[in-house]
Subunit: 349 residues, 2 copies
C-alpha cells in the first residue's frame, strides 16, 4: 500500500476510505460524510473484508454522533441505535460488523450519565481504538503465522485478506508480509476470486506495491497447480469462525480446502479473535449472503451469459474445521481441537 | 441450437462456422475461404471443442484441396502436407485435431493413383463423413449416457461439451439432451469456466435454446453446492484421453473431479473414441496448452489485475483415471479398469 493512504481512517468530519471497486485501475479515496454513504460503501463493497467492515461500522457510528444535533444523551443514544440497525443490515456474514457495532454501543451506553460532547468524543476514540487494535492484532498475527511459512514457499491465497481487508497490514497477507520481513522468500499465487475478482484486483495490487512476487490464476487452476506440486500451502482470511472452528470465508475457500486436503497440503486461516462467533456452535448456523446475479453474469457492463439463465451467487461458503490445519490469531496459533483452543483465547480488554 | 445454423459445415466454397467468441450476445456465422482463416478460427477459439476442431481440420484440408491449382496429384499432396502442418500447429491438446488430419491425409494418399479432381472430391467426402459420423456418435453416446442420469438430477458440467463443441448434438450436453428426450427432468449447473467463460457463454446459451433449466455459477461455487447436496453428478467432455483413462479437459475439470470424489458423487466423462490417444500410456504425457495472460487479466478490454503481476494460463488439466467413474463413448459406457475397457473399443471403419 502507498504510505499516504489507508484502507479506512477518520478524516476530521468524514470516514475516509479507499473505493476498492475502482482498484486496480484507479486508486481513489472517498470521504463518507453521512451514515447512508458509509452503509452504501459497505453494501457495494467499496470497503470490504471482515475487519475493515468492522472498522467502517465503528467510524460510521462515530460519524453519526459527530453530526448529531441531539441535545440530550438519551436522544443521541436513540439516534445511534437507529444507525446501528442501518449498518447491521448492510451485510450478514462477516461477524466483525456486529462485533464492532456492539462494542461501540457498549461504549456509548457507558457514557449514559455524561454529556453529549463527552459521548461524541468517547465514540470517536473507540472507533479509532478498534482500527488501531486491528492493525496491531494483524502485526502480532503476522509474527505467529510467519513461523508456519517455509522459506521459498509457494503460497496460495483466495480473495483478499490484506491491508485492504483490514485497518492495516492484513490477516493472511499480513502473515505473508511478516514472513517476507523475516527474510523469507515467498511467492504468492492469487486466486482471481470470481465473481468480483478481489484476488486479481486487490491481492495482486497489494503484492505488486510491496514487491512480493505474485502470480494471478483463475480459481479453477488451483487444483492443477497443487497436482503439479507447485503450491506448498494455502492461507486465507475469514469472515466468521464458529466456536468449533468452522470457517466462513469468500466463496471458493471451501474448494481450496478440499483441494489442499486431497493433496496433503496445510490449509491455514488467519483471523483476529473478533472474527470468532462463540454464539454459534458450528458453521452451519452462519448466515450466507446471496448477492445480485448481475455480479456473475455482467462484467463492468458486458453481459457474460444469455438472457433466461438462472444465476446462483452465494458470497461465502463454510469450510468445516476438519479441513483446517490451524487458525492463526493475534494470541497465537490454534490447532485442533478448536472448541477448546478457541475458547481459551482471551477477550480483548 | 437454432435449426438453421450448424457449429461447422461446408458451404460450397468455404468452411462455415459459428464465431463462438461473439456468443451469447451475437450469433454470427463466418465463412472461411482460406487455410489461414480456418487456422486463425481454431487458434482464436472461434471454433473450439475437441470434436469440432477435428471437423474444422477436416474441412480445412478439403478447402485447401478445393482451392488448389495443382496440376498433379503429387503436387496437391505436397500442398496438403503443408496445410496439415499449419493446422496441426494451431492447438496442441485436443487429439481430435491430429486424428482428423491423419484420417484426411490417409484418404488423400489412397487417391495417389487417381486424378486431381477425384482427390478433391474424396477429401470433401471424407471431411463430410468426419462431421456426420461425429454427430451420429454423439447421438449414440447420448443413448448410452442417458441411462446414467437419474430422473430429477442436478448435473454439474464444466466448459462446453455441447453442439458447439462438436459437429452437432454434443458429448456431455448430448447425454443431457438424450436424458431430457427420454422424458427425464434434468437441471444443469454450468460452471462459467474462466478465463473464457465457455460455460456461461456457450453451455448456458445451448441450454436456454432448448429450454433445459440451467443455472450459471462461478467455478469456485461448485464445492459449496456439492457440500449442500445440490449436485447429484458431474459430467464433462474431454480433449484427449490416454490409454489408461486419464482425461485432459478444460482447466478446472480436475478440481471438479476432486470435489466429486470428496463428496462421493459420480464423475462422468463423455467423449467419442476419436478423443482417445492410444499412443500415450498416461495423462502425464499429454501436452497442455498455455495461452496468453491477456485471457486471464483482461475482460473484453477491461484490465482485471495490476501491471506487474505474473499470470499463469494453462488451458487444460489432466484428471487421473482413478477419479473418473465412467467414460461414456459411442460404443458404450466404459468403466475401470480403463486400459482394458478402452482398448476393447473398435476403431471406426
Amino acid at each position: 500500500m502507498p504510505s499516504n493512504v489507508k484502507t479506512i481512517e477518520w478524516a476530521g468530519n468524514a470516514v475516509r476510505l479507499i473505493d476498492q471497486t475502482l482498484l486496480p485501475t484507479e486508486l481513489k479515496v472517498l470521504d463518507c460524510t453521512t451514515l447512508e454513504q458509509v452503509a452504501e460503501a459497505i453494501q457495494r463493497l467499496r470497503v470490504r473484508g471482515a475487519p475493515a467492515i468492522g472498522a467502517a461500522a465503528g467510524f460510521g457510528l462515530a460519524l453519526v454522533a459527530r453530526r448529531s444535533e441531539a441535545q440530550s444523551v438519551a436522544s443521541l443514544l436513540g439516534e445511534l441505535e437507529q444507525a446501528q440497525a442501518v449498518l447491521a443490515a448492510t451485510r450478514p456474514t462477516a461477524v466483525n460488523l456486529f462485533w464492532a457495532l456492539e462494542r461501540m454501543m457498549r461504549c456509548a451506553q457507558a457514557q449514559a450519565e455524561g454529556s453529549v460532547q463527552r459521548l461524541k468524543e468517547a465514540l470517536l476514540a473507540e472507533a479509532e481504538a478498534i482500527a488501531r487494535e486491528d492493525e496491531a492484532a494483524n502485526r502480532r498475527m503476522g509474527q505467529y503465522g510467519a513461523e508456519l511459512i517455509p522459506d521459498g514457499a509457494n503460497v496460495l491465497t483466495h480473495c483478499n485478506a490484506g491491508a485492504l481487508a483490514t485497518a492495516g497490514y492484513g490477516t493472511a497477507l499480513g502473515v505473508i508480509r511478516a514472513a517476507v520481513e523475516a527474510g523469507k522468500k515467498v511467492h504468492v499465487y492469487a486466486d482471481e476470486t470470481r465473481p468480483l475478482l478481489q484476488g486479481a484486483r486487490l491481492t495482486a495490487w497489494e503484492m505488486v506495491q510491496e514487491h512480493i512476487p505474485v502470480t494471478v490464476i483463475t480459481d479453477n487452476m488451483a487444483g492443477h497447480l497443487m497436482q503439479q506440486g507447485r503450491i506448498d500451502l494455502a492461507l486465507v482470511g475469514a469472515d466468521r469462525i464458529a466456536a468449533n472452528g468452522d470457517v466462513a470465508n469468500k466463496i471458493g475457500t471451501y474448494t481450496v480446502a478440499v483441494l489442499a486436503k486431497h493433496h496433503g497440503l496445510p490449509f491455514y486461516v488467519a483471523a483476529p479473535r473478533s472474527t470468532i462467533d462463540f454464539s454459534l456452535t458450528s458453521g452451519t448456523e452462519i448466515p450466507i449472503e446471496e448477492r445480485s446475479p448481475d455480479e456473475v453474469v455482467n462484467f463492468r457492463g458486458v453481459r457474460t451469459a444469455p438472457a433466461g439463465v438462472r444465476v446462483y451467487n452465494p458470497a461465502f461458503d463454510v469450510t468445516p474445521h476438519d479441513l483446517v490445519t490451524a487458525i492463526i490469531t493475534e494470541q497465537g496459533v490454534v490447532r485442533p481441537p478448536y472448541t477448546e483452543g478457541l475458547a481459551a483465547l482471551e477477550e480483548p480488554q
